[in-house]
Each structure stands twice: as structure tokens, then as C-alpha cells.
């Protein structure tokens, strides 16, 4: 099996992104600690970023014209910015909630209940 024949294409990157996304999704569904959930969200955001960059690399690279160049990178950059903001606010919320409830356990947060 020739490793060099096993070429890395767009779909490979996308699969990696999909895997990261699904793992993050599982984390969001299954974890009890709210910080762990935030971490899982970060995973999902990273997965999305991989997709952005990958599409930029493989699809738009082929197209001529400067309009398209690096748009994926810019999008990823914005995602990172938003993620950073989200983490900042999210963690502040976690601390506030922790202060009120003495817990970071999502099971105990059921204010949305009827």
C-alpha cells in the first residue's frame, strides 16, 4: 500500500471536520459540566473552521479572480473572533450561575421547565 497514492483531498478534510463536529455534538448532549459543554462547542466551531479553510484551499483556489481569494480564511477568522467572545461571555455566565447555584451541573439547571 503506497502511502503517497493515498492522496489527501477535500473530502478527507471534510470528514475530519465532520468527525470533530460529531464528537463535539456528543459532548454537548452528554456532558454534565457546563464547562465541558463549552469546550465541546469550541470543538464544533473548530470543525467548522476546518471546513472553511478546506473549501478555500480546494475549491476557490481553482477559480481565477481575486475576489474569491482567502474569503474562507476571513470567515474562519471571524468565527474565531466570535468564539473568543462567546467563550468570554459564556465563562462569565458560568461563573455567575455558579455563584447563584453553587453548581456547574447542567442537570440542575431546569429553569426552562414549564
Amino acid at each position: 500500500m503506497n502511502l503517497s497514492n493515498l492522496s489527501v483531498g477535500l473530502s478527507t478534510y471534510l470528514l475530519v471536520g465532520a468527525m470533530l463536529f460529531s464528537i463535539g455534538l456528543y459532548g454537548v448532549f452528554a456532558k454534565r459540566n457546563i464547562i465541558a459543554i463549552l469546550m465541546s462547542i469550541e470543538l464544533m466551531l473548530n470543525a467548522v473552521n476546518i471546513n472553511f479553510v478546506a473549501f478555500n484551499r480546494f475549491v476557490w483556489n481553482q477559480k481565477s479572480g481575486t475576489n474569491y481569494i482567502l474569503t474562507g480564511h476571513v470567515a474562519a477568522l471571524f468565527v474565531i473572533v466570535v468564539a473568543a467572545a462567546e467563550v468570554a461571555v459564556g465563562l462569565a455566565l458560568v461563573i455567575t450561575i455558579y455563584r447563584n447555584r453553587q453548581s456547574t451541573n447542567v442537570d440542575e439547571f431546569n429553569w426552562l421547565k414549564w
Binding site: 455534538l25 448532549f29 452528554a30 459543554i37 447542567v106 439547571f109 429553569w111 426552562l112 421547565k113 414549564w114
Partner: protein
């Protein structure tokens, strides 16, 4: 001559308008001033009386001309698609006679009330109602069409309601007023229905037009429909008079209506409003004539039955006003059966004379009640003639008049009715009428002997009433004597009230003195019997009562008709009402609340799915995404066209 008169007749609308103006004035301006209110009211009705007399003279002078061409003025009142109603005035002998009678009695009663109602708190209110009543009654008389008549008909009903309940703090007055309104309402239902059918069939409610249509097209089935149609309408229209004029099944309200002030009873429940029914039948006589004979036969039967039925009750009553009330019922029955047997003019004649002497007797009774401080039981009275000579004499004239003793007014009218009944082939009705005349004479003289003759009661300190009360008595007594002379020398009252069904020629009839003699004897017999029992005490009244205790009890309780109606209202209507209310609350509302309950119940179950856990929500969300994707990917039908995989090469 007739032309000039016609100009006068154009002003007939003023007759009801003046009292109406006085009603508005009292209600909005002079309410606070007692003297001013009564002055305004009396001046208005006297002006109307003057105008009515002028019109009556004009009618008599116009003679046959006005009979054939009634002076009619119409103004459009309501004009919409499918319904056109005029308001107007009709001046013909019939309305002229009624105008005179109504305005005369009304003005007498209003003057009389100056004394009778003296010191009453509701003085202005009283005159306010009186004026409204006079306006509505006179307006009704002048009506040119059935709807106009019906409107005023209801308005006099309203006035009657208000005046019966004038002393609204008395529970009995309150209940009586309610009863009067409701009972007449039942009759009005029929009248309204009859009106609707008439309009639907003939497209008009105008008396003259209706009469013309019926007279000219009576054989034309296409226009009229079959005779039974007209008959049905006649029956329906007759329901109104049955209620208003207290004919048999709906008579119950009239005796109770005596709860009102006595002058009101005199005016509304003896002389004027209650005869409105008779007047209506007279106005609509063409309808009854063209209906199958059963219609008029029905009118005659109801009238005759009421006459004897009420007279028999009157024998056993003790309350002076109730005796008079049943007497009124009985006399109304007289007028009604007179119409039924075809004595149109006799009926109107009796209407007029009855108005005079019955108003007289009611006012006389009021005078007595006033003098005895609200005592109404005749057995508490006695020997009043000496203490109250004017009241006594005038009352005596009234009794003579109603008993049909010549030369008093009642004799002529009653005789005319009875004569026509026999002539037109109604022997049974004639017999009933004759017997009623006997009963009438008996119970009226009973009343008179017990209350006015005999020994005085020491606890009473009666005194003659003030002039404001006695003058109307004297005037009415005068008319009770001479009112009948209009028929002399023959039965020519019909000259004044000419009605010619199907072009018959009027025939002047001489008074049949033989028949007249029979009815006079019947009257005298009644008086004599009363004299023997109540004045001579040759036969003890108690022993008669003791011999027929059941009969007496039934009579005294007015054949239990009231109780029967009460039972129906309380048990049947009340019961149905309760059942339906139960149905409404528990079935209709139950269904509604049941739906609400199901909604709430399902919501209670479903809300368990809302765990409040964000994670669960997210999970469900993504699960839904998966499902939707599956549907798109593998589904059939419309959704497949949206299948993203279809564009991506497809997985199927």
C-alpha cells in the same frame, strides 16, 4: 260647506298633539311645580276637547258626505324597500265620536283628579302620564292605518302600565301593572301577526285601501286568496282586542288593574283604553265581514261568554272597584258580541254610553273611597246617600243607566244590541245578553243598595267631595242621561256611524218596543231582586250563599282562572326556563368547558416533555434534523423533489 269643514278636519292632528306637548312640557319643564303641571295638562286636554267638539259638529253637519269620503290626511312616516307606512289622521263619524268621548272623559278625569290626587307626591308624574295617555289614545283613534293604530295601541298600554303601577311602592300595584302589560302582550302577538300577514298579502295597512281592496276583489281568489286566509287574519287581528278589551281568556288583568288610582280606572280601564279593542274591531270590520261567518260568530261567542262570565263573577265580589271592573268586562263583552252579531252601530253606541256611565260610576266610587279613606269593601259602607248627596244621585243615575232603565243612556244602546242580535238570527246570544242584563242590574243595584242605602256605619265619617270632583260627576251624569237620546226617535245612531258592507243600504229601524220592554223588565227584575235581598232583607243573602257554597266560592275566586295562569307561569314556563338554564350551564357550557378541559389535560401530559434541560432540547433538535434529512433522502412524493441528495447524486 263640506270643503270648509274639511279644512277644519285637517287640523285634527292637533287633538293628540296638544296633550303630547303638555306631556313633554311637564316631563321636561314644569315637573317641579305641581300647580303648573296640572294646569298645563288640563288646559291641553280642554283645548283638545274643544277641537273634538268642533270636529264632531262638523261631522254631523257634513252628514252623508263624510260617511262616504272620510277626511284623511297622510304623511309618510317610514319608506323603505318593501315597507311603506304613513302616519295620518282620519276624520269620519267613528273617529269623531271616539274623539269626543275620549277627550270628554279624559278632561273630566283630569279635573276630578285635582281633588282626588290632592297631596300625592307623584302629582306631576300623574299629570305627565295622563297627558301621554290622552295623546296616545286620541292618536290611536285618529290612526289611518293599522300600524299607526298599533303604535298608539301599545303606547296606551304603556300608559296603562305606568298608571296601574302609579303607586309603585305597593307590591300589588306593581304586580298588577306587570300582569296587565304581559296579558295584553299575548293579544298583541296575534295582532302583530295579523298585521304582518295583511301587509304581506295586500301590501298596505291603510284602512281605506285595505277596505277598498277587500270590497272590490272579494271574489278574486288571486288577490285575496281563499276565504280561509282572510278568516285566519281576522282571527289573528281579533287576538289584540281580546287582550286589550279583556275578553275571556285574557280578561284577568283588568280587575287587578284596579290597583291604580281610581280616576285612572275610570279613564283607562272603563271608558277609553279598554274599548280600544272594540274600536279596532269596528275599524277593521270590513275584514271580519269578508272573512267566513265563523269569524264574526267567534267574536260574538267570545263577547257573549265574557259578558255573562264576568257578570256572574261580579255578583260575588265585595270590593267596590272590582265589582265595577267585572261590570266593565261584562259590558265590553256586550260591545264585542254586538259587533259579532252585526250590530256595528249598536256596539259603538254602547261604547259611548258605557264610557259615560261607567266613568261616572268609577269616579263616584272614587269619591266614596276618598271620603272613607281608602275603604273599598262595600260592606264597610252604607247610608252614604245622605252624607254625599251629589255622589249618591249621580251614582244612582249611573246604576239606572247600566241597568237599561229608560230614559237613561244604557237603555237605548243595550236595546239596540239585543234587538239586532235577535233580528240577525242569534237567539242564544240574545238570551245570554238578556240574562246578562238581568245580572248587571242585579249586581249594580246590590252595590248601590249596600253602599249608599241602609244604615250608616258609625265608624265612617263621610263628607261630600270638593267641587273639583263633583262637577265632573255632574257633567258625566248629564251625558249618562241624555247620551242615549241620540238614538231617538228611532235607532238612528247608525246615521252617525254609517258602515255599509258590500253596498247595503242603510235601513232606518224603529225601536221595537216589545223587545225593548223585555229587556227593561229584565233590568227591573234584577233591581227588584237586589232590593228584596239587600234592602228589605226579605231573603237573607247568607242563606243563598249557604245553599250554594261551592258556587259562591267558585264565583268569588273568579273561576280560578288567575290561579290557573299563575300555575302555568310558575310551573310550566318557570320549569322550562329552569330546565333550559340547566341545559345551558351543564350541556352547552359543559361542552365548551369540556373542550377546555381536554386541552388542559393534554397540555398537562405533554408538558412533561419540556424537561427544562437545554441538552434535551438540543438533542431533540438534532434528532429532528436527522429525521427530516431521512425524509428528504428516502421519502416519496412531493418532498423528494426537495431532496438535497437528489441534486448531489442521490443515495436512493
Amino acid at each position: 260647506m263640506f270643503k270648509e269643514m274639511h279644512d277644519l278636519f285637517r287640523w285634527a292632528w292637533l287633538i293628540p298633539a296638544l296633550p303630547f306637548l303638555s306631556f313633554l312640557l311637564i316631563a321636561f319643564v314644569t315637573k317641579r311645580s305641581k300647580g303648573l303641571s296640572s294646569t298645563v295638562s288640563i288646559l291641553a286636554i280642554l283645548a283638545s276637547l274643544g277641537l273634538a267638539i268642533a270636529i264632531a259638529i262638523g261631522i254631523i253637519q257634513s252628514g252623508a258626505e263624510i260617511v262616504e269620503h272620510a277626511a284623511i290626511v297622510n304623511v309618510n312616516w317610514l319608506n323603505i324597500g318593501g315597507l311603506k307606512i304613513d302616519f295620518g289622521t282620519v276624520v269620519d263619524p267613528l273617529s269623531g265620536m271616539m274623539l269626543f268621548v275620549v277627550s270628554l272623559v279624559a278632561s273630566m278625569v283630569q279635573i276630578y283628579s285635582l281633588g282626588y290626587m290632592h297631596g300625592d307626591k307623584g302629582w306631576s308624574r300623574y299629570y305627565c302620564y295622563q297627558s301621554l295617555f290622552a295623546a296616545s289614545m286620541l292618536g290611536m283613534v285618529l290612526a289611518t292605518n293599522l300600524l299607526q293604530l298599533f303604535i298608539f295601541w301599545e303606547l296606551v298600554g304603556l300608559c296603562s302600565y305606568l298608571l296601574i303601577g302609579f303607586w309603585y311602592f305597593k307590591v300589588s300595584a306593581r304586580e298588577a301593572a306587570k300582569k296587565a302589560f304581559m296579558t295584553t302582550r299575548v293579544g298583541d302577538f296575534g295582532l302583530l301577526l295579523g298585521m304582518l300577514f295583511l301587509y304581506t298579502k295586500f301590501g298596505t295597512l291603510d284602512f281605506a285601501t285595505l277596505a277598498a281592496i277587500l270590497n272590490t276583489n272579494i271574489q278574486n281568489v288571486a288577490v285575496i286568496g281563499t276565504a280561509s286566509y282572510v278568516t285566519v287574519m281576522a282571527f289573528l287581528v281579533f287576538m289584540g282586542p281580546v287582550g286589550k278589551s279583556g275578553q275571556f281568556p285574557l280578561h284577568v288583568w283588568l280587575p287587578d288593574a284596579m290597583e291604580g288610582p281610581t280616576p285612572v280606572s275610570a279613564l283607562i280601564h272603563a271608558a277609553t283604553m279598554v274599548v280600544a279593542g272594540v274600536y279596532l274591531v269596528a275599524r277593521m270590520y270590513f275584514l271580519f265581514v269578508h272573512a267566513s261567518p265563523s269569524a264574526l260568530q267567534f267574536v260574538a261567542d267570545i263577547g257573549a261568554f265574557t259578558a255573562i262570565f264576568a257578570a256572574s263573577i261580579a255578583i260575588a265580589q265585595d270590593d267596590i272597584k272590582r265589582i265595577l271592573a267585572y261590570s266593565t268586562l261584562s259590558q265590553l263583552g256586550y260591545m264585542m258580541f254586538a259587533l259579532g252579531v252585526g250590530s256595528y252601530s249598536g256596539s259603538m253606541f254602547h261604547l259611548m254610553t258605557h264610557a259615560f256611565f261607567k266613568a261616572l260610576m268609577f269616579l263616584g266610587a272614587g269619591s266614596v273611597i276618598h271620603a272613607l279613606h281608602e275603604k273599598q269593601n262595600i260592606w264597610d259602607m252604607g247610608g252614604l246617600w245622605k252624607k254625599m248627596p251629589i255622589t249618591g244621585w249621580t251614582f244612582f243615575i249611573g246604576v239606572m243607566a247600566i241597568s237599561g232603565v229608560p230614559p237613561f243612556a244604557g237603555f237605548f244602546s243595550k236595546d239596540e244590541i239585543l234587538a239586532t242580535a235577535l233580528q240577525n238570527g242569534h237567539p242564544v246570544v240574545y238570551a245570554v245578553g238578556l240574562f246578562t242584563a238581568f245580572l248587571t242590574a242585579f249586581y249594580m243595584s246590590r252595590l248601590f243598595f249596600v253602599a249608599f242605602c241602609g244604615p250608616e256605619k258609625p265608624e265612617n265619617h263621610p263628607h261630600e267631595s270638593p267641587w273639583s270632583m263633583t262637577i265632573p260627576l255632574i257633567i258625566l251624569a248629564f251625558f249618562s242621561v241624555v247620551g242615549g237620546w241620540a238614538a231617538l226617535p228611532d235607532h238612528n245612531f247608525a246615521f252617525f256611524l254609517h258602515y255599509l258592507p258590500l253596498g247595503q243600504e242603510y235601513e232606518r229601524e224603529a225601536i221595537n218596543w216589545g223587545l225593548a220592554g223585555i229587556s227593561v223588565i229584565a233590568g227591573l227584575l234584577g233591581i227588584g231582586l237586589a232590593y228584596i235581598i239587600y234592602l228589605k232583607k226579605a231573603i237573607a243573602a247568607e242563606s243563598i250563599v249557604a245553599r250554594f257554597p261551592r258556587v259562591y266560592k267558585v264565583l268569588q275566586n273568579k273561576y280560578y282562572v288567575d290561579e290557573f295562569y299563575l300555575w302555568i307561569i310558575n310551573n310550566i314556563m318557570g320549569g322550562v326556563a329552569k330546565v333550559l338554564y340547566w341545559f345551558d350551564i351543564y350541556v352547552i357550557d359543559g361542552i365548551i368547558n369540556g373542550i377546555a378541559f381536554i386541552t388542559r389535560g393534554s397540555a398537562k401530559t405533554l408538558r412533561r416533555t419540556s424537561t427544562g434541560q437545554l441538552q434535551t432540547y438540543a438533542m431533540v433538535f438534532f434528532f429532528a434534523v436527522v429525521i427530516i434529512f431521512m425524509v428528504f433522502a428516502f421519502g416519496e412524493g412531493q418532498l423528494t423533489s426537495l431532496n438535497p441528495l437528489a441534486t448531489l447524486g442521490g443515495v436512493k
